[in-house]
Structure formats: structure tokens, C-alpha cells
Amino acid sequence: MSKAQQILDALGGDDNIIDLEPCITRLRVEVTDPAKVNDSALTAAGAIAVVRSGIAIQVIVGPEADTLASDIEDLR
């Protein structure tokens, strides 16, 4: 499975994502249900860290954030 697919799944899938945007080193994601986001699956997929604030989830992925975000968009 691609890294983009693993991250999409770990975020709870397309249905759970309200908005996803890259910012240099991180994916900024707004989700419907934060409980469906699996932090350990995100780090297993290569995320450096996950920072949560309510429905706003930041997935820290390093400088490949832009590329990953467009790969994830392609899967949605």
C-alpha cells in the first residue's frame, strides 16, 4: 500500500476528512471525528509526529508534505 493510502486510511478515510492542506512540513487536516484518526498508524506510515487540537490534526511528515498531500488528493 502506498504511503499516501496508509495516511488516508489512518485519518479515518476520505469520509472523515473535511479539509486537508499541506504546509511545508506537515499536513493540516480537519476531520469529522477525531476518534477515527489512528496516531500509531500514522507514525507507522512514516509520520514524524501527530499534533491534535480538537478536529484539527497536524500530521508532521517532513518536507515531502506537498507531494504527499497531492498523492492523497488523487486517492480521494
Binding site: 511545508i24 514524524i48 499534533v51 497536524q58 508532521i60 517532513g62 518536507p63
Partner: protein, 153 residues
């Protein structure tokens, strides 16, 4: 590799990156570095901290990559992605090769602060280990853009 000197991208006061109000930069999750609290009047020009290629360019942030692969991230303010580029003018494009000290972005840190956001600028040695990056400017001191900030062994 030869030591790479990273220049201050903006004029202002050197701040410990752990004091930056962002958990990612504060913890050095994407690499070690320092931050600069830009001068509201004289901190409006953001220059290339190293010579190299502009591999990422957003209005509020950029990454310059040296020939040897090492890359430095400069982020202009915290959560400034939410400004959607408003108040930021870019002077180069992704893929351009620049000399160190080239003006890449002009912006208004005072306006960012007036908008309720932090204007502090993390300068990050991307994906470097902390033990190869040392400060060349002391926390709490003033730096001009283009002055030495970090050395990356």
C-alpha cells in the same frame, strides 16, 4: 561535508526555538535551528539563508536546498498559512537557484502581529541531527538579515 553557514533570513532578535508557539518547531520535530522575532519595521525582507535551489516556496515559508542536499526551512510567522498569502510578496519561483542573501519574500511582520498571530520566524536545518547544528548568534541578541546565524557541520 564542509560546514554550511546559515544566515539570518530576517532582521530581528534571536529566539530559542523551544519558545516558538508551535509544537512542531518548538520540539525540533523537523530539525534543529533557531528562531528570529522580526523587527516590525526592518524585518520586512526575508533573504535566502544559504545558496541553493528554492525547492519549496509558499508566500509564508520557503525551503532552500544546497548543492549537497542539505536544506533550510524558513517559516515567516506561526499559522501564517491561514493568511492565504495576504501581505506576502514572493520575488522568486520554485526551482530558482539563488545566492545567499537574495531577497525571496517581502512581508509585514507588524501586520501579522496586529492580526493576532506570532510573527516569529523559525529557521530549521531540515532533518539534521541536533548535534551537528550550532548557533553563531546568541539568543536575545539582535541580528541583521544576512548575518551568520547557524553553522551546520
Amino acid at each position: 561535508m564542509a560546514a554550511l553557514t546559515v544566515l539570518a533570513p530576517v532582521t530581528g532578535t534571536v529566539v530559542d526555538v523551544s519558545e516558538v508557539d508551535d509544537p512542531v518547531f518548538a520540539a525540533g520535530l523537523v530539525g534543529p535551528g533557531l528562531a528570529i522575532e522580526p523587527d516590525g519595521v526592518r524585518g520586512t525582507e526575508a533573504v535566502a539563508p544559504i545558496a541553493g535551489k528554492i525547492v519549496k516556496l509558499h508566500p509564508h515559508a520557503f525551503v532552500v536546498q544546497h548543492d549537497d542536499g542539505r536544506a533550510v526551512l524558513v517559516h515567516l510567522g506561526i499559522d501564517t498559512v491561514k493568511l492565504g498569502g495576504e501581505g506576502f510578496t514572493t520575488h522568486v519561483s520554485e526551482g530558482d537557484v539563488v545566492q545567499r542573501g537574495t531577497v525571496l519574500v517581502t512581508w509585514d511582520p507588524a501586520a501579522v502581529r496586529d492580526g493576532g498571530k506570532s510573527a516569529v520566524c523559525p529557521v530549521v536545518a531540515l532533518e539534521a541531527s541536533a548535534d551537528v547544528v550550532d548557533a553563531l548568534a546568541q539568543v536575545g541578541t539582535a541580528v541583521e538579515h544576512g548575518e551568520d546565524l547557524l553553522t551546520w557541520a
